[in-house]
């Protein structure tokens, strides 16, 4: 998303702040929604390649975390059922059901509910004006959300998130992150934009957008389920082991850059890589040598299309 878009969102936020809080007249988002992946498709469906941090405003700490992250960590039983946090879950494959909960006596809107088939997550967006909990309350995958309408646009503020990731190749999101979402309905298209602020791992807000299309019919029950039972996947692993690469010694650290012929400075991310001016930097940067061609008969993982979203 460009700087212009960020500015536009800032204007939206300023407008939103000026309207009465918890106004309860706005678009009805109820229904079954399915995402479209035309935007950022390689990142969202096949999944990101290792050490691809392009366009992420990460700091050095996030970069070291990601460069040390070994995907084998997800084989640990305690990591196998790890849920995508709400700032990420809308990016992946999911079916989304939205409905409203109203006070039966007054018909005031109490909450808007989101059920995501991925990880069977039910998210509550409180619309009744309640405050966010204090700093000692637990954090959850979906966080604690409150919403308000600005005209027909729903604005949601979320806190109390668990530690997660902003890209599922190990780029972290801390439990101090906060998210603001903007949801707009145009007929049967739902536009969802979020602004993520993370004082631990991001130097600037991360802005992402995605679209959903309303389904005209209910989906089979099984498509809504996500059952996760952790098992022992690597029997020889010593108890307490946490797979990680030594800092600076990621065995595939240059693979993404070489495969796509991108300069190292671009794939390692950072706020500068989000902006158009960075194209000039890239023109002057050194392109690494391409990966060697596979041996005859060999099957090489090409990245796109090889992985399925967890």
């Amino acid at each position: 998303m460009t700087r212009v878009s960020v500015v536009a969102l800032g204007v939206w936020l300023a407008i939103g702040a000026s309207v009465p809080a918890f106004a309860q007249a706005g678009a009805d988002f109820s229904g079954v929604w399915q995402p479209r992946y035309h935007e950022d498709q390689p990142d969202r469906i096949p999944g990101p390649e290792l050490t691809d941090y392009t366009g992420l405003p990460i700091n050095d700490s996030a970069r070291q975390y990601a460069n040390s992250w070994d995907p084998s960590r997800l084989t640990l039983p305690e990591e196998q059922c790890r849920v995508h946090v709400s700032p990420y879950i809308y990016r992946g494959p999911l079916n989304l059901r939205i409905w409203e909960e109203k006070d039966p006596k007054t018909q005031d809107l109490i909450a808007i509910k989101h059920y995501s088939s991925t990880f069977e997550q039910t998210r509550t967006i409180w619309m009744d004006g309640r405050p966010h909990p204090g700093p000692n309350a637990p954090h959850t995958w979906m966080g604690f959300s409150t919403g308000r309408y600005d005209g027909d646009m729903l604005i949601v503020e979320t806190t109390h998130l668990k530690k997660g990731w902003v890209r599922r190749n190990g780029v972290p999101m801390s439990d101090q992150a906060k998210m603001t979402e903007y949801m707009v309905r145009n007929g049967d298209v739902l536009s969802h934009i979020f602004v993520l602020v993370d004082p631990v791992y991001l130097t600037e807000p991360l802005v992402k957008s995605q679209e959903f299309v309303r389904s005209t019919r209910e989906l089979p029950a099984g498509t809504w389920l996500w059952v996760c039972d952790p098992v022992l996947e690597i029997a020889t692993r010593e108890e307490g082991e946490v797979p990680a690469y030594w800092p600076g010694e990621h065995p595939f650290k240059d693979e993404y850059a070489r495969r796509h012929q991108l300069p190292e400075i671009a794939v390692q991310g950072g706020a500068a890589t989000m902006y158009p001016e960075f194209q000039e930097v890239m023109k002057k940067a050194t392109i690494p040598p391409p990966l060697p061609k596979p041996q005859p008969g060999a099957t090489r993982v090409t990245g796109a299309g090889q992985q399925q979203g967890r």
Binding site: E79, R82, G134, N136, C228, D229, V242, P247
Partner: protein, 355 residues
């Protein structure tokens, strides 16, 4: 280090935790030292309901856990002495039942400071020969339970110039085995010792029916693991303790909720929060261990920034337990346990994995 903005300011957090834990090195003087220069007048005790019978009290010291029921009240850790009246007031807002037990997770003053006042506000159940031998003293106060090593250290001569922790604040019942367990309030209570972790006298308290675990400083959400070497703490023991916490806790099928974890400091947590913390501690320990094996000096290890990825979340540049001290402590313990390999061997250099 980049300052992070949380619900409470980082500076306030650092000062609070530092003041809370700075007492570790001087055990006998813990309470007195911790109280110096700290004004408790404006401290508010926040009560967080964890489960029907279990509450977390957050003040200025370590978190306090309250368990209430038909048998009475159990108090796990008592914060600083000057906060006792506020702690008691918070307890009475929950229940008027008698305080029967005080349990100390370890010996630091921010966890035992209120022992005397809170135990004296309670009374124990006793009869038969116990009352016959001890008279009214047998039931005059709540029992104070801790691991034997807590009593040993509190009752030892304090460092020169430091006051002794009052006798009335010492544990009245100790245990030397891995675990002590009993039924209280129709709840199986397990007091589990984790050796040589934060200190050498650490206990965590598991309320089995309520499915709540109070960890003491074996787990916090606010800082790097504090290894109190002077009182028997080790990084390996600390990581073992974190894994032991994960053995006790059971998450829901989406790695959230299930067993709730009351940390020594910080917010109410669950197993997944402990997993993240365990991962951090293990990764940092393993990095430094590897660097020691490669023959690196402490300065070389520091130059490698082995905590860079976690510093904005847990690091401190000032105070009693800085990031630098954390690294130095691990380095020293790894160097003692894993002497560096002789030069030119380099057999571990291609491994590229944490162990």
């Amino acid at each position: 280090m980049t300052a992070i903005q949380t619900g409470f300011s980082r500076r306030a957090r650092v000062l609070s935790v530092a003041a809370s834990l700075a007492v570790g090195a001087a055990v006998a003087a813990a309470t007195a030292v911790a109280q110096q220069g700290q004004n408790f007048d404006n401290v508010q005790i926040e009560t967080v309901k964890v489960r029907d019978d279990v509450y977390m009290l957050v003040g200025a010291g370590g978190n306090t856990t309250i368990h209430v029921g038909s048998d009475g009240i159990m108090v796990v850790d008592t914060q600083f002495a000057p906060l006792s009246a506020k702690i008691l007031s918070a307890i009475r807002a929950i229940s008027d039942a008698p305080i029967r037990y005080v349990v100390n997770t370890h010996l630091h003053g921010d966890h035992i400071g209120g022992n005397e006042a809170i135990s004296k506000a309670g009374r124990f159940r006793a009869g038969g020969n116990v009352v016959g031998d001890l008279g009214a003293a047998a039931t005059a106060t709540a029992v104070i339970i801790a691991h034997e090593n807590v009593l040993k250290r509190l009752s030892a001569d304090p460092p020169s110039g430091q006051p002794q922790v009052p006798f009335a604040a010492w544990p009245t019942e100790t245990y030397i085995t891995r675990k002590r367990e009993f039924l209280f309030n129709d709840e199986a209570v397990q007091i589990i010792h984790e050796p040589n972790a934060h200190t050498d006298g650490d206990s965590m308290v598991f309320f089995r029916k309520s499915d709540v675990l109070a960890t003491g400083d074996l787990f916090t959400t606010v800082m790097y693991p504090y290894i109190d070497v002077a009182n028997g703490g080790t990084i390996d023991g600390y990581i073992n303790a974190l894994n032991a916490i994960m053995d006790v806790t059971v998450a829901s099928n989406v790695n959230e909720g299930g067993t709730m974890v009351i940390p020594g400091h910080g917010r109410l947590s669950d197993e997944q929060d402990v997993v993240e913390y365990r991962n951090m501690a293990t990764i940092v320990r393993d990095r430094i261990k590897e660097y020691v094996k490669r023959g690196m000096t402490l300065e070389q290890v520091k130059a490698k920034k082995p905590t860079l990825d976690f510093d904005p979340r847990y690091g401190m540049d000032t105070g009693f337990w800085t990031t630098s001290m954390f690294v130095e402590t691990i380095y020293k313990q790894m160097a003692e346990a894993n002497p560096p390999a002789k030069p030119a061997q380099g057999k571990n250099q291609q491994k590229g994995k944490s162990e």
